[in-house]
Symmetry: D3
Subunit: 174 residues, 6 copies
């Protein structure tokens, strides 16, 4: 099984915010954005694994600047690390106002997908080889995020989370 | 400003999983489910605050049993704690197969909404008074979840997170 | 085959009225509401019968207060009587304005669903045992509504509709 | 104010049944069909009155042959009578299977719409002059249907429903 | 195989322009209109051929008057010529403002569909016999449009396009 | 007014083909694809002009390989030439099957958008400076395509279409 690079499965998505996507403020609803983020992440997961994949978990999402009606939602999805049968994908979202000519960070999150075989059982996926400095940092930090996920899901005891201790160091690089 | 109880804004939602909601396995897509969870949470937030509200953050979501095409998605949304201008809402999701006659836990998450005034600035909301034992436990644990959120969003240093230290005690009650 | 109670299949649905659901007044379109009512009724029918079901008829619907854009549509669906292979379900709809803090009756209707077996033929369903006074009244009046339905569908002669004669008595309890 | 003929506002609608419109049998859901019927009726109402209109009531609908996935839904909507501020519209629905080459009656109903002025108050509409024999019969029977609607809505006492007594004569022409 | 007339497969479609169908001007988006035009054309193609059909090409579309939010889109689709396995269908679109009481030409186009057999191979379709003068003119001009299509798709050399030379004569009748 | 390069407004869009996007073959419907192409083109037009824009015309589209259910639709949209108030945008579409691991050309087209000012009148847009060889070829050929459009729309006499005569030379570069 060949290993792959993050750019092999990198996905860009652009959507226009239409009336039905907005709340009473005329801003994109959080749920609608999460729907698009999940679609983008699932494209990355199937492109890396060449297998059908399903969402396993989504990390904490913090919504910063809301995206306005008529603006463009620009989503970039890039795989950060492949584990045995699961894959972590980083999603970054920008809003883009073409009339006022500015682009603004909206939010971001890490999605985890698991690949499945024909019997719907988890299936081994190719390894990911990070290339750029940013990709390498994301690759290393993925272990810590994974331990936090396992603890939050009740599948790991905090005292066993060696990597997670780094969480209590300054967090800028996350 | 009156305080309110969790049951004052408790919301139940039921949806049928239609073909367009499913991935290639015939299971509900994670993104579609998050869309519904956000809608349910936003109903709770506006019902508690009587103000327009927007999604501020979503905690880690772990997807357990997938919901099948044609099954019912049953969502319960209940406020767990009101802070100054933000509100934490707990979402629980079950799948329900009426033909095979079983109901199964699908996933759950904590959403945070912020209430806004007419100038779109954060606005004070009524306090929440928990009543049942479960509500009280959720209310207390909300502080810890909030600290984790602030750390993950880079707004708090881990060493200042007094409540979060409890995270490193056994976590069953979260 | 076990009999069941109305509360065994009682369904609550909550939806937010989005822009595409509204007419030029910014009010929920009648057709969109009927779509949701039908979904709610079909959940009740499959939950009671544990069989696939399809809409057989809908009784006269009178639209009272329109539901506004951004308001919540609150639907309650409860089975009123099971016949041999068909089931009558009562739908009640309220609008809810969380900002102005009032709730208003929107409309209501009786839907009839028929359960089908694997060959798509009508299939026997469990009996329904009403419990509360309201449920019992609904159960009794179901016979009259059924006769009116059969007459309107041209399947019964009016002179044979013994129960329907009660229709010409004061009708408040319907 | 000019009077108009039924053909002045006659509307034809054709839709293809897509996967999301179907229930677990692969048949068009009743609620989806009612949505389309309401859209068709609203076009007739605005075309006759040249005013914004909203659904006031829908008469008993009996679903006959279900329409299959991929089939065409053919809807015809024709005004049957204009009252002071309300209009009765007859909807007829056929399914059409182009591959198997047959067309089948699906269902039908009478919708009532009310026209509104700029202050959202009921507003006088032009009279309708029926032309063909079928239109004239529909025009006459509209009075009876209206009395039944008023009784079912609790707005008329059955003993005052002179026209409705015809309901207890043979009903073929309805 | 029987031949058919244009009126045997003539299709009328009416849609209301809802908020999600519009751009930032409150006008129907071009892409949404093309979606409806394609649906209308596909109904004509399957009705003429009694076979499953797929879009093969769409001729140049020029958008004239935009259709406004809340207006009706009125589409007429009529077959103009059947070739061996493909069919040309003419789509004409009008906007209709029922409140302001005017109807305006929106745009038009020629769609080409191909019929397929059970193995998804192109399949012979019945001939089309035009009847009215307009249908006959459309039938004759179809050859020229076909040559232009073939040239634009790179499947025919311009110098072989005998019929297309007529394109350089005055074009009013196209 | 500054001139811009094609890469300043280049847009990538990725979508998954869901059940409701497909015809009876399980292939993406032509109309659904044209809807996405129009969205992609409109993003390019507003990004280049920083003005609201509307679809003016779409050139001949020839559908090659159909895109299958569950496959990814990959769309690239790049401006080819800016005229006075209108802009020509080239759309290229690929299907991508991540499980079978192949990517295939689906179709392509040239869209023309016009920019509008606050009074909805055509408004001058920045010039486009092509950079790569392919962009330059597209820029030159745009004149010919424009003449063909004007002739097909009846706004230019063929004998005045000097550039179009090149159409009757070998066409590979179009």
């Amino acid at each position: 099984m060949l290993s792959k690079n993050p750019k092999d499965s990198f996905v860009i998505m652009n959507e226009i915010v239409l009336p039905n996507d907005t709340n009473t403020f005329g801003n994109l609803m959080g749920g609608r954005l999460m729907y698009w983020m999940d679609i983008a992440a699932s494209m990355v997961a199937t492109e890396h694994s060449n297998l059908p994949c399903m969402t396993a978990s989504v990390d904490n999402i913090s919504f910063k600047t809301p995206v306005k009606l008529g603006n463009i939602v620009h989503i970039e999805a890039r795989m950060t690390r492949a584990f045995n049968t699961s894959m972590e994908i980083r999603i970054q979202v920008w809003g883009q106002d073409n009339l006022e000519q500015y682009k603004y960070e909206s939010n971001g999150a890490y999605f985890t997908f698991v690949a499945l075989d024909q019997n719907n059982r988890p299936c081994k996926v190719p390894q990911l080889i990070p290339e750029s400095e940013e990709e390498k940092a994301d690759y290393v930090a993925a272990l810590r995020r994974r331990q936090l996920r396992l603890i939050l899901a009740g599948k790991m005891l905090p005292q066993d989370a060696d990597e997670l201790k780094a969480l209590f160091l300054p967090l800028k690089e996350i």
